[in-house]
Amino acid sequence: MAQVHIERVSKIYSGTQRAVNDISIDIPDGEFVVLVGPSGCGKSTLLRMVAGLESITEGKVSIGDRVVNGVDPAERDIAMVFQNYALYPHMKVYDNMAYGLRNRGMPKAEIDRRVREAAKTLELEHLLERRPRELSGGQRQRVAMGRAIVRSPKVFLFDEPLSNLDAKLRGQMRVEIRNLQKRFGVTSIYVTHDQVEAMTLADTLVVMNNGVAEQIGSPLDVYERPASAFVAGFIGAPAMNLIEAVVEGDGRALAVGASRLAPFSHSPALEPGRPVTLGIRPEHLRRAHANEKADMDLVVSAAEILGADTLAHGRIAPGGTGAAPLIVRLPGNVRLETGARLPLVLEPGAAHLFDGETGRRIDLAEAAVAPQQAAMARA
């Protein structure tokens, strides 16, 4: 077991394009870190540099106290689980797990003990004599896990290990991977493009985009205080509404197309005319009560009935093609008609604001939350 330090690491494949650009992550011993981001953002490349399967163009990777930049993958004391499992097709399940141990010259009895123990943990005992092609997808996945576990490595590396499984199995394996990791306490780096997987598995989430780490933090932190409009749009389902707006009037109101919103009444003023992106999660809007003053009106264009929830799709009133699109999560029992006008109330302090040009977070929420916290402290 060991901590992993990734220090200002970059990967340049050819010319000047950086697949990974100046990323630093400190991973304490035993922590589960998830790299998440859209396809092509450089997650696998970063993971493979830690594994030693890809050379490190710039920066430093250390495992434990040892810098591993030039160290052979077989000597880094890591184990990796691949998306397509990468089992050896010509070896039985037993040999698939034992292969790495044999190459390290481990005594036969010890190998046997470890393989059987891992097989027991993963309920693979009755499959040890089979070849990979005689296994189901889920069983292959478990063998791949077993091959990693028997090594007792310092670090587990996972590259989208559940992507080839069906939804139900994926859910089960997710829980199982988490439990195994907790049980063995092995430092883990897990790559996925699936934000649900990322949120449920991670101690620490690294949201990547275009080779850059947009935000590093706990899942809740990332969800509640996204560092950029990209993170805000990527984490959470359905995605956060990101609405182009311009600061107006006294610096507390926002012009969104033809309508005007004032979601930040408590915040300090911004300079009028500044372009910003307003971020509102679908679950932070609700229907206004009969006599309540609405923050905005939604012109409904479609309703997506999910059972427990209903998602209302539409545009901010007055509607029309120029108006900003909006999705609202409503209780399942709400019935909506297309074209109807729905008055909405925004949960206090739940809106996010991002710079219109850089996409970075503008920290107003703090100001909005602070008086409440102060009030609570006084009580």
């Binding site: 594994a51 030693g52 399967l53 052979d72 993958p73 077989a74 000597e75 890591i78 184990a79 990796m80 691949f82 998306q83 397509n84 990468a86 089992l87 050896y88 097709p89 010509h90 292969y99 790495g100 190459n103 092609r133 091959r147």
Partner: protein
């Protein structure tokens, strides 16, 4: 899956007819004729033939010259197949290492396959040319006066080298595509599991290559036995008597040069039997140990 049924229609047989005709005319008829004439003594001047039972077989098998040719054929086949496969495998492994990730080269390399056989054949012969052949010249540096077509062993050497040379390109392409079809992640898993590249090759890469290798062993034995006819003909043209030939070439020699149709037919029947046995052995014993993933 549902089977397509034609009932008792003649249509399927019609579709098969061209194939059956070709096989019948060019294989079954001559084979039958060979079996028949192997029991007869043909008059060399064409005045009929006499039934002699197994005499032709007895003559062939007790003939010391025939045994000498048979032994040479075995050596020739084993050496040609072995070196053609081994050299091609080494080259393919090297090429594969360069090609990983660089897909554009792959199509380029297919040209080897398209161009090589005729050009390589010509080159191979030229390499051993008595006057301009570089191999002859190189041999002379070491005091070896290489006389292809005159000295038995020199000819054998030249035949084997040229036969190997001719077959390498084909083997190379098959090995290379076999190597490229091994999933990248499997190799990477092996890199994490095993430090030594040599060990990795024999425990992971090569076993995954066995379907290709098995197929190529069959192809190469067939090649060495039968497809080298033209090469042998070219190299021994003037003096087949003093030079090494293979069994297939001897069938031709005895039948068409020696006019011993009965003996030559008996030899081809023996060869047919050998091929038949080889095929069974290959499929029974080798295939069982092959991993088809």
């Amino acid at each position: 899956m549902n089977k397509v049924r034609f009932g008792h229609s003649v249509i399927p047989y019609l579709f098969l007819l061209p194939q059956i005709l070709i096989v019948a005319v060019f294989f079954y008829l001559p084979a039958g004729e060979a079996v028949r004439s192997s029991f007869y003594l043909e008059d060399p001047f064409g005045f009929g033939s006499t039934f002699v039972g197994l005499d032709n077989y007895r003559d062939v098998l007790s003939n010391a010259e025939y045994r000498r040719v048979a032994i040479f054929t075995v050596w020739f086949t084993v050496l040609v197949a072995f070196f053609a496969l081994a050299i091609a495998l080494v080259l393919a492994v090297k090429a594969d290492a360069v090609l990983r990730g660089a897909k554009s080269y792959r199509t380029l390399l297919m040209w080897v396959y398209a161009i090589a056989p005729p050009v390589a054949g010509l080159l191979g012969i030229m390499l051993f040319d008595q006057h301009v052949g570089p191999i002859v010249k190189m041999a002379s540096w070491f005091g070896w006066n290489l006389r292809v077509g005159v000295n038995y062993h020199d000819t054998a050497f030249a035949m084997i080298v040229t036969a190997v040379w001719l077959q390498i390109a084909v083997n190379f392409i098959f090995f290379l595509s076999g190597l490229q079809s091994i999933p990248r992640s499997v190799r990477e898993a092996a890199r994490i599991d095993c430090r030594s590249g040599f060990r990795r090759f024999w425990t992971v890469t090569f076993p995954l290559l066995t379907p290709t290798a098995f197929f190529l062993v069959v192809i190469n034995i067939t090649y060495a036995l039968f497809d080298t006819f033209g090469l042998i003909d070219l190299m021994t043209k003037n003096e087949p008597g003093n030079n090494p030939v293979t069994l297939v070439y001897k069938v031709f020699l005895d039948g068409f040069r020696g006019n011993d149709l009965g003996g030559s037919s008996a030899q081809s029947v023996i060869l047919m039997a050998v091929v038949f046995v080889l095929t069974i052995v290959q499929f029974r014993f080798i295939e069982r140990r092959v991993h088809y993933s």
